[in-house]
Each structure stands twice: as structure tokens, then as C-alpha cells.
């Protein structure tokens, strides 16, 4: 399975998979492969998002101190 690109690349690939499902282009043989790929992309993006959230949670109080200081 190929590596997952940056957010925008991964999101584009995920969107393409979802669209192929919407348009009924996926055969049963492809279904599992595409679903597995889409799941891997979603989990990778969620992992990145969680990591980003954690960093934001670290930085937000520091930015808040600047924003709130008198």
C-alpha cells in the first residue's frame, strides 16, 4: 500500500474514493481494497489532526496570554 501524502493530497485521494462509491464505479472485488485504503487515510488524517490538536492545546494558552494581557 502506497504512503499517504500530505493533508491536501490525502484528502483529495479520500474524496476520489468516496466519489467512486457515490457513482457506483466500485466493483465488489475493489470494494474491500478501496475501503481499506480509505480507512487508512482517515485514520492517518485523524492521527495527524489529534497531534495537531495536542500542539494547539499546548500553544493556545501561550497565545491566550498575549491576547488577554492588559
Amino acid at each position: 500500500m502506497s504512503t499517504i501524502g500530505d493533508w491536501n493530497e490525502a484528502a483529495s485521494e479520500l474524496n476520489a474514493i468516496v466519489e467512486s462509491f457515490d457513482e457506483g464505479e466500485v466493483s465488489v472485488d475493489e470494494l474491500f481494497v478501496k475501503l481499506e485504503r480509505a480507512t487508512a487515510i482517515i485514520e492517518a488524517l485523524e492521527e495527524r489532526l489529534d497531534a495537531t490538536k495536542a500542539r494547539v492545546e499546548e500553544l493556545a494558552p501561550r497565545i491566550s496570554r498575549v491576547a488577554d494581557e492588559q
Binding site: I42, E46, K53, A60, I63
Partner: protein
């Protein structure tokens, strides 16, 4: 007094007797009990406990060896209260000042000098002169465009590097620096110590402005706490005004109390009414910049970050839901397709079976027509040779061959004794 009489009946006086007589005459006309006002221009002035002033006619030339000079002095007992009064009114006795002095004549016999003991100085006249000279200076500064010169200097948006012209540890110094140091901002103060009153102050202040102008500071602040007009006179000095006007760095002033406006205030880039207000002004400038460029952006950054994270979170949740629904839909569709196909297959199979059954029945009926037992029952017989082969033609047997004849209910043994091609 014993007077010696000359031949002309005029008495001959000893020197001491002469001075006694002169003193008596002078005192009777211009002595302590007969003071008079004398107007003159200060040619020299110095103070050593007492005040000593050389007074000449206003406008007279110093090169004129014959110009009259009045050696005036003011004893400390008189001078000290007068000095305080002058200081309060912002008046300084200096060379060139035209002054009216009230006093009396005294004669100092050991040096043969006539002096003038000052008892009063016409402050009102001096004030008028000071005001006139001040207005003249302002007019000159306006005419030369110097009042607006420093105001045209661009002020950096964040004036954190502050050049300070002040006397250290004074109230004004502490008020001003206190505002900056307690602001929480990273002000850097480059301080040049100067006197802020007295004769040396104007030159020191002007020099400090020039020095700080080349020191890379963002703003130069002239700071001095409240005081009498005399205390603040240095800030009306032309040298200070010209130094401010010539500065390429914006000069801010915080001098004296509310209502005091010096010429330094007039030519400065920005004037605050007190050192405290000047400190507040600088802090406010930095605070406004901080608000616009730091706090506001920090708020936008927080808001933007939340929006991006929320959007990404919602996007992934939506994609996840969509994927699940899409896959389920797809699987259901496939399931339906399979079910439909299966049903079609079953129906088609049944149909095929039915057809096959019908075909078999038909074939069976057809075949039954050819069933030999039925023929045997009708009287037909099947003849086979001794090898079991069906005899279909006369040529299949020879006369004398033994044959076997099958009838409906058994077999007969027979011998061929005749071959006849005719069929009856």
C-alpha cells in the same frame, strides 16, 4: 575737626578728612536715607555670598574706555530674598540684562571707590524684558521654520528605545522612568545626565539632545519636574530650542506642571504636561501598537486555529460517515443483485427442468412407439442367427441354418428350410 586755613581762606583737608567730608555730602544727597533708581545694562555679574554687578549705560560699547561704570553690590541679607523672588519669576541676572536698581551711594575710602549698594531690583521691569525677549525668540524660531521642524520627524510606531535628558533621581526622572519600567514593555532607556536648572543647564541639555540624536534612539525625552519659572528657565533657552529643532529624532517634552509651556515644549515633536504624562504617552503608543499588531493577531490566530481544527475534524467525521454509508449502500446493492440473480437462477432452473421433463416425457412417448415388446405382442417376431444377430435379410442366413425366433411370451428354435423373396 581742626582745619588748617590757607592763604586763600580755603581749608586744607587731610585725605581722611576729605573722604569724611565727601561721605557726608554724598550721604546727604544719595545716602541710605536718600536712595535712588539707576537703570543700566549688566556688564559683569558674579555672586560670592553677596552679589556684585558692574552696570553700564545700555547700548554702550565695551571698547569705549571712557564709558561710565557703576560698581553695584547687594549684600547677602538683601540679595538672598531678592534672588528667591527673581528665581520664582524666572528671571536671571546675566550680562546684557537691562535692570533698574534701587540703592544708595557709598564711598570706600581705602580704595577711593564709589560704590552702589542695592536694596531693591525692579522685577516687574525685568519680567517685561524677559517676556519681550521670549517673544522675540519665538518669533525668530517661527520665522526660521524651527517650531515645526521637529514635528516633521517621523516617529517609529514602537518607540521602545528612549533617549532621556534629565537629572537623575529627581521626582520628574522617577515619575517618567516609573511609567516605562512598570509598563511591562521592553523599554530601553539611554540616559544622559544633565542639570535641568541653573546657568549650565541650557548648554548641557542642548548637548545631550545632540548626543542622543546620534545614538540611534527612537525618541528623545526632555524631562523635568515642576518648579518655579526660574527653575524652568533653561527650557526657554534658545540653545535648547535650536538643538530640538535640529534633531532628526522626535523630541518629546514632559516639563514642569500642568499649564507650564516652555519654548522647548513649543518646538518639540510632542508635548506632555508632566513627566508622568509623558511616560504614559509613550506607554500608550506602544500599547496601541501592541493591541493592533500583537493582541489582535493573537486573537485572530486563536480563532483561525480553532476554525481550521474544527473544519478538519468535521471533514474527517463527514468522510467517515460517508464512507460507511457508501460501503453499506454498495454492499446492500450487491446483496440485492445477488439475491435477484439467485432468484432468477432458481426460476430459470425450474423452467429448464420443466422443459427437460417435458422433453423426456415426449421422448419417452416417442420411444414407446418403438418398443419391441409392443410389436411382439401384436404378433411380430424377432429372428436371430446362432450368433445372436438379428436376421434382417434373406442373405443373412443359409438354408439349413438354425435360427432363434422371439415371440411375445418366449423363444422358438427353428431351421431355415426355405428362402423366398416374395412377401405376402
Amino acid at each position: 575737626m581742626a582745619l588748617e586755613v590757607t592763604s586763600g581762606d580755603d581749608p586744607i583737608l587731610e585725605v581722611g578728612e576729605f573722604y569724611q567730608l565727601l561721605t557726608a555730602r554724598l550721604e546727604s544727597a544719595y545716602g541710605r536715607r536718600h536712595p535712588c533708581w539707576v537703570r543700566g545694562e549688566v556688564a559683569k555679574v558674579y555672586e560670592k555670598t553677596h552679589l556684585y554687578v558692574d552696570l553700564v549705560d545700555a547700548g554702550s560699547s565695551a571698547s569705549d574706555a571712557k564709558r561710565p561704570v557703576l560698581n553695584a553690590h547687594c549684600w547677602a541679607s538683601q540679595w538672598n530674598p531678592l534672588k528667591r523672588k527673581l528665581a520664582n519669576d524666572g528671571v536671571t541676572l546675566q550680562a546684557g540684562t537691562v535692570v533698574n536698581l534701587l540703592g544708595y551711594v557709598d564711598l570706600y575710602a581705602p580704595q577711593g571707590r564709589i560704590g552702589f549698594t542695592v536694596t531693591e531690583i525692579d522685577v516687574a521691569g525685568l519680567l517685561g524684558d524677559v517676556a519681550r525677549r521670549r517673544q522675540e525668540l519665538i518669533a525668530r524660531l517661527v520665522r526660521e521654520g524651527l517650531v515645526e521642524a521637529n514635528k516633521r520627524q517621523a516617529l517609529t510606531p514602537v518607540p521602545l528605545r528612549v533617549g532621556l535628558v534629565a537629572s537623575p533621581k529627581t521626582e520628574g526622572f522617577n515619575d517618567f522612568t516609573g511609567q516605562l519600567l512598570h509598563s511591562g514593555f521592553g523599554f530601553v532607556i539611554v540616559h544622559v545626565t544633565t542639570a535641568v536648572q541653573g546657568e549650565a543647564a541650557p548648554a548641557q541639555i542642548a548637548s545631550a539632545v545632540e548626543q542622543l540624536d546620534g545614538a540611534g534612539v527612537d525618541v528623545i525625552c526632555l524631562v523635568r519636574g515642576g518648579g518655579s519659572k526660574g527653575d524652568l528657565a533653561a527650557f526657554d533657552d534658545e540653545r535648547v530650542a535650536r538643538a530640538i529643532a535640529a534633531s532628526s529624532t522626535p523630541v518629546f517634552t514632559g516639563i514642569g506642571h500642568t499649564g507650564d509651556e516652555s519654548i522647548a515644549d513649543l518646538v518639540a515633536h510632542t508635548r506632555a504636561i508632566t513627566p508622568t504624562k509623558l511616560g504614559e504617552e509613550l506607554v500608550s503608543l506602544v500599547a496601541q501598537w501592541h493591541e493592533r499588531h500583537v493582541r489582535a493577531n493573537a486573537k485572530r490566530l486563536l480563532s483561525g486555529t480553532d476554525a481550521v481544527v474544527d473544519e478538519a475534524t468535521e471533514y474527517l467525521a463527514e468522510r467517515r460517515r460517508t464512507m460507511i454509508f457508501a460501503v453499506r449502500d454498495r454492499l446492500r446493492s450487491e446483496q440485492r443483485q445477488l439475491t435477484s440473480t439467485r432468484q432468477r437462477l432458481v426460476m430459470q432452473s425450474r423452467h429448464l427442468l420443466e422443459n427437460a421433463h417435458q422433453m423426456l416425457t415426449s421422448r419417452r412417448q416417442l420411444l414407446s412407439a418403438y418398443d419391441p415388446t409392443r410389436r411382439l405382442a401384436q404378433g411380430w417376431a424377432i429372428v436371430t442367427d446362432d450368433k445372436g444377430s438379428v436376421v434382417r435379410s434373406l442373405s443373412d442366413v443359409q438354408l439349413g441354418d438354425t435360427v432363434r425366433v422371439r415371440v411375445s411370451d418366449g423363444n422358438l428354435g427353428a431351421v431355415v428350410n426355405e428362402k423366398n423373396g416374395e412377401v405376402t
